[in-house]
Amino acid sequence: MSELTATHFLTLSAALFIIGMLGVLIRRNVLVIFMCIELMFNAVNVSFIGFAWEQHSLVGQTFALFIIAVAAAEAVVGLGIIMALSRRLDTVDIDQVHELRE
């Protein structure tokens, strides 16, 4: 481990991705779940940029740039849904949202 290799970045990325996933699975606050999804997107970016760095290509960086843009777009719509729902239900607890089932 004397030199910096892609393995470092990929490990970091995997760790971030899985922490984000755990957050989605465990947390009950919709906003926190939303933040965890952003965390997962970010982890993917780390992978992309790590691969780009390793392969001397800019494709990965470009891809990451677009992911950031898309994440912003998703954030806008997602927060819109969350706000509208919290207005009706007066809660952001995901476990309270289960009228549709079976």
């Binding site: 996933m21 699975l25 476990d95 289960h98 549709l100």
Partner: protein, 632 residues
């Protein structure tokens, strides 16, 4: 012109679809414009196409697309116009156009106006596709489609119980025939591996005699149903429950002739089987005779014309069975004119009499409805075979065809039936238009039909007068020279008819027709013969004819009733007891599983996400262990 053939069926189809979709809300009582336009386009293109066929003496065809492309079994959808199709095209589109125009007046104010003008072009489309088809499968599909349209139109006034019953009856009886037809088509495919006409006709001679006969008879079963031959003719008189223009178009001029057309189209198959030909001739002759006797005894004006149609279809059938192909198609063509005319005329009478159909409550209408009278008289005379109207030439040719085709008995039966034909036709004329007025003049004020109904009557009566001259001189007329290429080859026999024979039969027919006219005049105008006395004298024979040879009663007793009993029994014992038990068992099991599995769907996002994650981890894990280089 070949590239424009597709327009012939397409124009009425578009009219039907548009009327169906927009009719109820937007078009309503304007629906007829589109329908008439569609059929007119179809007629125009047909004329152009037929002109080219006549000029170049070739069959035109246009390949549209391949319907079922699965492996060896390919069904191309190709529209073909040869001389036979050309004749049918002109008959179908021409009569349709006139009937459409007539209907504008007849159906005026009906709440189902738009529906009528959606069904009618739909029928025209189906009928055109039927005659344009180049293979048996397509023919069969549209054979069913015209049946469906007929069913819809017979039951057009579906709130009337009798109309709904008649529609059902037509449907069921036709189903019997269609079943046989379907079997025949399957048999062709099994033995020859193709359904295209050219391929089938080229190979059919190589089949064993028994197979050919079986195929021919099965195909003819379809014709028996559709063209109302004995023993399946019972639906056609009942079909008169539909609006009169429908009777004229579908149940006289076009659809019922589909069976005749189909047999003529398949002539190489029939020609290869003398036994089948004999059956066709016998059934045809019997139909012609039986229906004519029934026609003598009926009092409903439309029913008489309907039995006359059945009888005339019998003539066409025995012409086919005698190998007189051209004569059959010739009679089909002239019949389309005068029978459509008779129905539309009858419709005009019924219209004028405020929906009265019983001739015993008519009489003396000549004064009130001069135009209807004269056109109806022309139609009747043509149907009766009075020289030189259309029916004379074609009927004469049919009878001569049977005689020289080696079926003298059939020809004689035909002559006897011709006597009856003349008698019942003029009976209708005299009962309806002559004699005293037997209706209540205070409540019924007969009035002549509007021009939109009168014009089609005039055009058709011109056809009824002159159409016969297409076949003059007999055997060498324009009509024959045009059609001959179709019915040659495949070992066709050509009968030469001597001028003496032609002349003899011409004279006999004329004598017979005039005899019928005279009898009718004596009985219904002069009163020299009392019909009631004759009926009483004949006793059981009269009853037989009046009760329509008891066909309906026999079916009721032998088929309908036992079937009903059987179905009730099946329902009680087999369905409830056995099948339901088994099905309920399986259903119960599946339902139990369903109820269990639905619980998985908890409605909680966390659980859903967990399922996704679990799926991912398991799939990736399994693959890494089994499919990767990791542990190798």
């Amino acid at each position: 012109m070949a590239n424009w053939i597709f327009l012939i069926p397409l124009a009425p189809l578009i009219a039907a679809v548009v009327n169906f979709i927009f009719g109820r809300w937007y078009l309503r009582d304007r629906a007829h414009w589109l329908a008439i336009l569609g059929v007119a386009i179809s007629f125009g293109v047909s004329v152009a196409v037929v002109a080219q066929v006549a000029r170049d003496e070739v069959a035109l065809s246009q390949h549209l697309y391949t319907w079922i492309p699965a492996g060896d079994f390919q069904v191309p959808v190709t529209l073909t116009v040869d001389q036979l199709t050309a004749v049918m095209l002109l008959v179908v589109t021409g009569v349709s156009l006139l009937v459409h125009i007539y209907s504008v007046g007849y159906m005026h104010g009906d709440p189902g106006f738009y529906r009528f003008f959606a069904y009618l072009p739909l029928f025209v489309f189906s009928m055109l596709m039927l005659v344009l088809a180049n293979n048996y499968l397509l023919l069969f599909v549209f054979w069913e489609a015209v049946g469906l349209c007929s069913y819809l139109l017979i039951g057009f006034w579906y709130r009337r119980r009798s109309a709904a019953q008649a529609a059902k009856k037509a449907f069921v009886v036709n189903r019997v025939g269609d079943f046989g037809f379907g079997l025949g088509v399957m048999l062709i495919f099994v033995h020859l591996g193709t359904l295209e006409y050219t391929g089938v006709f080229a190979q059919v001679g190589a089949l064993p005699q028994g197979t050919i006969t079986a195929i021919a008879l099965l195909l003819f079963t379809g014709a028996i149903g559709k063209s109302a031959q004995i023993p399946l003719f019972v639906w056609l008189p009942d079909a008169m429950e539909g609006p009169t223009p429908v009777s004229a178009l579908i149940h006289a001029a076009t659809m019922v002739t589909a069976g005749i057309f189909m047999v003529a189209r398949s002539w190489p198959i029939f020609a290869a089987s003398p036994d089948a030909m004999l059956v066709v001739a016998i059934i045809g002759a019997a139909t012609a005779f039986v229906a004519a006797t029934i026609g003598l005894t009926q009092y409903d004006i439309k029913k008489v014309v309907a039995y006359s149609t059945v009888s005339q279809l019998g003539y066409m059938a025995f012409a086919l069975g005698s190998g007189a192909w051209v004569a059959a198609i010739f009679h089909l063509t002239t019949h389309a004119f005068f029978k459509a005319l008779l129905f539309l005329g009858a419709g005009s009478v019924i219209h004028a009499m405020h929906d009265e159909q019983d001739m015993r409550r008519m009489g003396g209408l000549k004064r009130h409805l001069p135009l209807t009278y004269w056109t109806f008289l022309i139609g009747s005379a043509a149907n009766a075979g009075i020289f030189p109207l259309a029916g004379f030439w074609s009927k004469d040719e049919v009878i001569v065809g049977a005689w020289v085709g080696g079926r003298p008995i059939v020809a004689i039966v035909g002559l006897v039936a011709a006597l009856f034909t003349s008698l019942y036709m003029f009976r209708v004329v005299f009962l309806t238009f002559h004699g005293p007025e037997r209706f209540d003049a205070h409540t019924v004020h007969p009035h002549e039909s509007p021009p939109v109904m009168a014009v089609p009557l005039l055009i058709l009566s011109v056809g009824a007068v002159f159409a016969g001259f297409l076949g003059v001189p007999p055997e060498r007329g324009v009509f024959h020279r045009f059609l001959e290429p179709v019915f040659s080859g495949h070992g066709a026999e050509v009968h030469h008819v001597s001028t003496a024979t032609t002349l003899t039969f011409g004279l006999i027919s004329t004598a017979v027709a005039l005899a019928g006219l005279g009898l009718a005049y004596a009985a219904y105008v002069r009163g020299a013969i009392k019909p009631a006395v004759v009926a009483a004298r004949l006793g059981p024979l009269y009853q037989l004819a009046y009760r329509r040879w008891y066909f309906d009663e026999i079916y009721e007793a032998l088929i309908v009733h036992p079937l009903y009993r059987l179905s009730v029994w099946l329902w009680r014992v087999v369905d409830i007891g056995i099948i339901d038990g088994a099905v309920n068992g399986v259903a119960g099991l599946v339902n139990f599983t369903a109820q269990r599995w639905r619980r998985v769907q908890t409605g909680l996002v966390a659980n859903y996400a967990l399922a996704i994650a679990l799926g991912t981890v398991i799939i990736v894990g399994v693959y890494l262990i089994v499919g990767s280089t990791l542990f190798q």
